[in-house]
């Protein structure tokens, strides 16, 4: 069973990974975006870590809702609303339960991913974070480790795609050949999840 502490550690682990990977994310964002994805997420997850320390939410749902709300009010850009919605809607789907099992969490995360897809209007293959998140959710039924591999493969598979959503879409064919920074940060989020689960 997964409790509030598990979700708090997931968010903290994500914040640590984002610190480590910020430069790489920004480098990925330079050729096809505007070179700020790493610094934006860094600002957001630092704020998430601070907020979780201060407010100490007591249920899995409350942890993710607070994290999502914090991202929306600190990140800006497209990443703020998209990641904020992912976590907030996943948290809302978890409800008030003090503990959730892995199957319930997988279902809730799928609700969150669907909400992101709807908000951004993106489908798999559009070269966005959805390309890492959808395979991750599909694999989550097997194990956290499987979800991590699926997300990483999904992120790598964005390289040959032409962007159809977000700022990279303005480049048309010139977005081909670059790994999507959003899919990459999503893979980091899922990797932190597997790490938290000890897988």
């Amino acid at each position: 069973m997964l409790d509030a502490d598990f979700f708090r550690r997931w968010m903290t682990a994500t914040a640590v990974s984002v610190e480590h990977e910020a430069e790489r994310l920004t480098a990925l964002d330079s050729p096809i975006g505007d070179a700020d994805h790493g610094s934006n997420l860094q600002r957001g997850f630092r704020a998430v870590a601070t907020a979780l320390d201060k407010e100490e939410p007591g249920t899995p749902g409350a942890v993710l809702i607070l994290a999502g709300r914090t991202l929306i009010s600190t990140v800006g850009g497209a990443s703020g609303p998209l990641y904020g919605t992912l976590l907030r809607r996943t948290g809302k789907a978890l409800g008030d339960a003090a503990e959730v099992d892995e199957r319930e969490f997988a279902e809730a995360l799928r609700t969150g991913v669907d909400a992101v897809s709807q908000l951004g209007g993106a489908a798999p293959g559009d070269k966005t974070m959805i390309d890492a998140l959808v395979p991750a959710v599909d694999a989550l039924g097997r194990s956290f480790a499987a979800a991590r591999s699926a997300a990483e493969e999904g992120a790598l598979a964005t390289t040959p795609l032409q962007a159809r959503k977000g700022r990279a879409s303005y480049l048309g064919e010139r977005s081909v050949g670059h790994q999507d920074p959003g899919a990459t940060s999503s893979a980091i989020l899922i990797a932190a999840l597997a790490e938290t689960a000890g897988e």
Partner: protein, 330 residues
Amino acid sequence: MKMLINVAETVVADALRGMAAAHPELTVDVENRVIVRRDAPVAGKVGLVSGGGSGHEPLHGGFVGPGMLSAACPGEVFTSPVPDQMVRAAAAVDSGAGVLFIVKNYTGDVLNFDMAAELAEDEGIQIAKVLVDDDVAVTDSLYTAGRRGTGATLFVEKIVGAAAEEGRPLERVEALARQVNENSRSFGVALSACSTPAKGSPTFDLPAGELELGVGIHGEPGRERRAMMTSREIADFSVNAILEDMHPRNPVLVLVNGMGATPLLELYGFNAEVQRVLTDRGVPVARTLVGNYVTSLDMAGASVTLCQVDEDLLRLWDAPVRTAGLRWGM
């Protein structure tokens, strides 16, 4: 890249403190990042709120004041502001007549303003939105996020600002904003990439002998790269790209906009070429504005925006305005 900054993290806050010191006629909330005209809310007047990433100065904070915006929300450099800022701005300028959000068509701006509109409406503020998408370099299709919003933002903010000052109601102000956007088209070129403070080096690689055609205002690469062209050739290419998309029957407003690092000497010379093409193509020019208005940090280059105007629009364009970045008639 050498920059006149302390550290990248405080660039926006530092600029806002400096702006507050230079412009006592504005209320600058540095902590919450909202710039409001000092006399807001003005009784009976629709509030105009815009915002977007920093790095495009004087857009948007430099366009706050009588005759133009009521408030602006600057985000991080090239990053949309967050909904909290927009809700604060709306609350600060709403006199009960409602607030128009002027949003440039970038995914982040659209999502954050959408969320803010919902939150502001929950607080009882009537919100209308207009999306600016004037950039002909980006083709609209089912598969793209649509055209980018660039130079036409200035025309929308100025013309609609004058209409709001006259006391027009929200639905008419909103309709006018859509009309100005529909009447406007832009095209931009970059001679060099820009450097964001966070990255500290050029955001894309543009060799010395080349230029980017159809560049956006975030240092994102354009659609096509070519060997460097003359001012005359760039004017031909840019204006023709616009006129392929719009066929003005009325006179146009012309904005020859610098991207930040191109001197006025070059911009005026470029304007001479732009006017020549327009004359050759039989397009009458009503007014022309030349300068750095919608910039991209230290990018060299320029954009051209044309806005077709009737008598009402031209009168509103000529109406008095008093802001840090644009002022005439008062």
